[in-house]
Symmetry: D2
Subunit: 359 residues, 4 copies
């Protein structure tokens, strides 16, 4: 069995690897980490593009000093202070199991869905096969910083949440916890940009198939519902199953979730707004807009920010809560870096200071 | 007072005018009417662009023989078999009142909101001023052909419905009428393309303000709710007020409405699907997809078609009904031509046979 | 050997097949042919999607009566008055050879590149392998109607030109023929929409790879140069090799070609304009804008039209000639129907009357 | 007359004002300056939006501490170490004249066109009126850092170059200076994103007018030609007038310039590539791709980077040189910050380290 290796994060610079660097979340990790003052990218894998330069796969990195892409097998998992895993689900659990057998104390932030569901039965139901690393699942912490900050600081395996789920959990969980809304009456109509679907070459992701139009998909069976159920239920302390419909919008980045909720008892919509404003008043990345104001996804594009708006419906007792973030940043790689910062003892916002790119 | 003039529609070709031809719905009327075998465009107005050729304002008409743009004052309202009015609301009621004083029997299809609300109080509430032509309002027929076909055949003043409202009425009114859904539990999350906002030069409609992002607008106060209330209430025979949130998506054309409904009593989602499939089984422009299939807005782009899908939610007793159309065709000018066809005794589909332009 | 079968085009309705109906040019053929008053679509092939309904592959056709997709082998080539072939190059020559062995007099409009180059050596140089049906190549007519109308009327095998080449030939060939420009000084900077790349699932055609940016491709080696060389050289009666650079723009449809030319001898830019205006003055689909006016690709979107503008450069003796068309219509399927109309003795514009869809 | 005030830039943090902060280049300055470690934004003007918060005009700044928008009159020009002027041309020269009368030594980076042309006659010819501050024009330095770095360090008034001109000067001036290309045979076909047109509400900038299509504009008379003439002529030491055609592409950001050049004498295309590669080998923001590689505008989006590619044409003696940058960063506000860094003695790349946002 491998020796527990000494933590390198006390050193000035942490050494980092990204498994799965040829996808969009991988590239986004590299974009952020290259500008992080306390990390050095020392390993990049991409099985099908091994041997290529990262700048050949993503030419925005021309001129930057980055390690060549290698296969996972060619990487020594013990050589890094922290590993980001940006691989497809199912593959991921095998890879991480293997890494942790070799380096038991390795810190990992996993961007796949593999360790997000704490209930193995839920995993099997939604993903169609038994989980291959149940024992690791038990150690994994759900990496939504604003909810699980303390647990993440102590974690060695963090499951970075899904993009849809981050957007909706941030808007809804504080309201459920405060007893401000009826958990059985939540309808989520969510819209995502195209990068959420990844870089795999599929006909239904071609420019001409998705531009100049919009459509729902995964209606009533999208897997992110499993995460919503888990987190909403934890907040409510009883089973909660929201209605959730994702849509594909013709844009690169952005999740825009419109939540239709009903106030609980005598709660007013203003109180709903206050619950959220209070919950996030010290958070660096979540901005609750003034009551009645409506956010736009483009105003968080490229940043780790979340904007949330609360609007009273014209029907008494109903409210519309809208939250938006960039699916590749706060919805994936930015949140992963935020998790890394906590796990390595860095300031939480380090390397994530970039403002939104608008227009 | 003017003499009732003899109907020209018995002749081979009806002579037509378009008031407000320099906007998008005006141009779309011209696109359709130029290919209609039984009409001739004989008048085009555009107050601010009077004197210009239509092809200077819309270069897609270079090479086509069209009358020059004139002011409304320069047009003889008695010279046409039918007038389309594609002017801004409020302006419209004064213009139409004036036309009908001169030519009392003039057939008019109005694309503005001015004559859609039969209740003057509702008009005043939603538009902020008293209606200036209440006496005409009483004669106007709501021009949603699939619902009011018989009335439209006899009408002289037809109020062409709004784009959002057409989309949702077609999906929901048959369900309310059939008692299949609970009218008090309707949530409509709608997405529109940019042409719905017209051609007026406003900062928030610039390419860079609306591309690469999505946002809700008019939340809880969009005026199309007045029409939804009216038509849903008529169908239910009691007051109905749905929740309705419109969103702007970065595309030119398309309304995509996701309706969250609850079945009434023991109705199943399959029965909901059957109600709609039966209701539209002979309609040339409305296609109900097989149970569980999800439409896409791009598949009706440029056509007068509507596609409707019904999907069971994972929560028992709830369904998601999605309808989509092209806001400039079935949501505006195509529906106006459909109304014209009925009013002039032509086959309803004449001039509207174009298929969707996809990709 | 098969009997010469009697021509069916004398009948009221010609029976038509489309080989390769699951691609974009196939779908566009179906869109146009469904509204053509003198043809009936009787066969549709798509090898990988055989057995599916056309409306499953392209849901804009839901509700239309179309034959099921079959494999090419399952189609009787003798059963049609005319066959459109919208298959990949190289495959095409084998398929057509086979068809013509069975049905020697079969009329075919081929949308691939396989029969466009009359010189077998040129084909081999640009496509990297010897032509497999050289004997048929000799019978093929280059299907650019405005240039080869008479030959097309008599043809049995028409090679529908490429989209880039149609755009540039229409702008440049009349000028070379008239001796108005210097054939050795032609620079073509062309921009195309994404549908030109087809429906094959490739990473570099994904929405997020091509939206929000522009780039050149195939610089100095794009195969459409072979066609430009052939047609420019024919017009000049000596070898001509223009400079040609295609670019991919983030839009679905449209070719926009900016030609930088130099006047020959004492020719003025106004004379260049006049040459084009005269050449096209009776053409139904080509519009030469007034001197100095600049076309836009969106104004021909969805139509079979071409718009051409001529602008004097500020440098004496140089002109900028801009031409634009819809790559799927006049650049592919519309032109193919135009060819079919000639080959079957129909009016040339039949079924192609649709106006541009703008906005 | 005002006293020369002591330079504040020796202090830790320079205090900065942005005149014209409600436009796109103003917002982009704020985006960059908020993350610059050595500056503090102390003044923001926007005449028509005075009194509003910057975050009301650009909601991406919600949560950031920024001064309220004021009118220019309400700003004390003596209170800043450096002023960015992002106002419309013509207005600018009056404003800057006024500022410098009050504070003669004030350091200014002007993003308008007003001080870019050193020849007053050229200004009058291209802008249609005499320059109102000719005496200041003489002091202004053309702020293209890679060409005029030393002069900028000493300058007090820097004229930030145009976006088209920056793109083409960086690609072409080193080649003219090296005698590698024929200055009389330069054809520039340039494509720009929509943000280059600013935030003014004009019909021809609406989403539906510019999406889903492309077009040339300003053909043979775009004002950026005046700058190209000036800088190309300086490099050649004799008058040079390139052919230049700008196009609007449906994207937010990016200039993509395709240059058609001819080698001088026995120069090879490889030598052209080497001239550029050598010229920029130590530049932090300009990347010359390997011979034959083609850049894409999206790979520099949001960054201050420029990518340049050189490709041999198939015609001997001709080359295609392609350069691309983000018009709001290296083409405007990023370059302005780069100029500021030099003027204040900061490291040139400070605050400009952001990587491109792709996808």
């Amino acid at each position: 069995m491998a020796e527990p290796r000494k933590t390198r994060s006390s050193a000035t610079t942490a050494e980092i690897a990204v498994l799965g660097a040829s996808g969009y979340t991988g590239a986004e990790l590299v974009r952020l980490l290259l500008r992080h003052p306390k990390v050095a990218i020392k390993g990049l894998t991409a099985d099908r593009k091994a041997g290529q330069a990262m700048s050949a796969v993503f030419p925005q990195f021309v001129g930057f000093d980055l390690p060549k892409l290698v296969t996972i097998e060619d990487l020594d998992p013990g050589a890094f202070d922290l590993i980001f895993c940006a691989l497809p689900h199912a593959t991921t659990q095998a890879v991480i199991k293997n890494v942790l057998e070799k380096v038991p104390e390795q810190k990992i932030v996993d961007l796949s869905a593999d360790f997000r569901l704490s209930d193995p039965a839920a995993y099997e139901k939604w993903y169609g096969h038994p989980h291959q690393a149940i024992e690791l699942q038990a150690r994994a912490v759900y990496g939504l910083v604003e909810i699980y900050r303390d647990e993440i600081r102590e974690a060695r395996l963090v499951a970075n949440p899904g993009c849809f789920t981050t957007t909706s959990i941030l808007a809804i969980v504080p309201l459920i916890e405060a007893g401000a809304i009826n958990p059985d009456e939540i309808v989520i109509d969510s819209k995502t940009g195209m990068t959420g679907a990844g870089r795999g070459a599929r006909e239904n992701m071609l420019f001409s198939e998705v531009s100049e139009g919009i459509h729902a998909y995964g209606v009533a069976h999208h897997r992110h519902m499993a995460e919503l159920d888990q987190e909403f239920s934890r907040a409510a302390n009883r089973p909660v199953t929201p209605t959730f419909t994702p849509h594909l919008a013709p844009m690169n980045r952005g999740i825009y979730a419109t939540h239709y909720v009903r106030t609980e008892g005598k709660t007013t919509v203003e109180q709903i707004h206050r619950v959220l404003a209070d919950f996030y008043k010290s958070e660096p990345f979540v901005q609750v807009l003034p009551m009645g104001e409506v956010p736009q996804s483009r105003h968080v594009r490229g940043s780790n920010h979340v904007q949330i708006g609360v609007i009273a419906d014209r029907i008494a007792g109903r409210a519309i809560v809208i939250s938006t973030l960039d699916n590749l940043v706060k919805g994936a790689s930015g949140q992963a870096v935020q998790n890394m910062n906590l796990m390595l003892g860095y300031p939480e916002t380090m390397g994530l200071e970039q403002l939104a790119l608008f227009p």
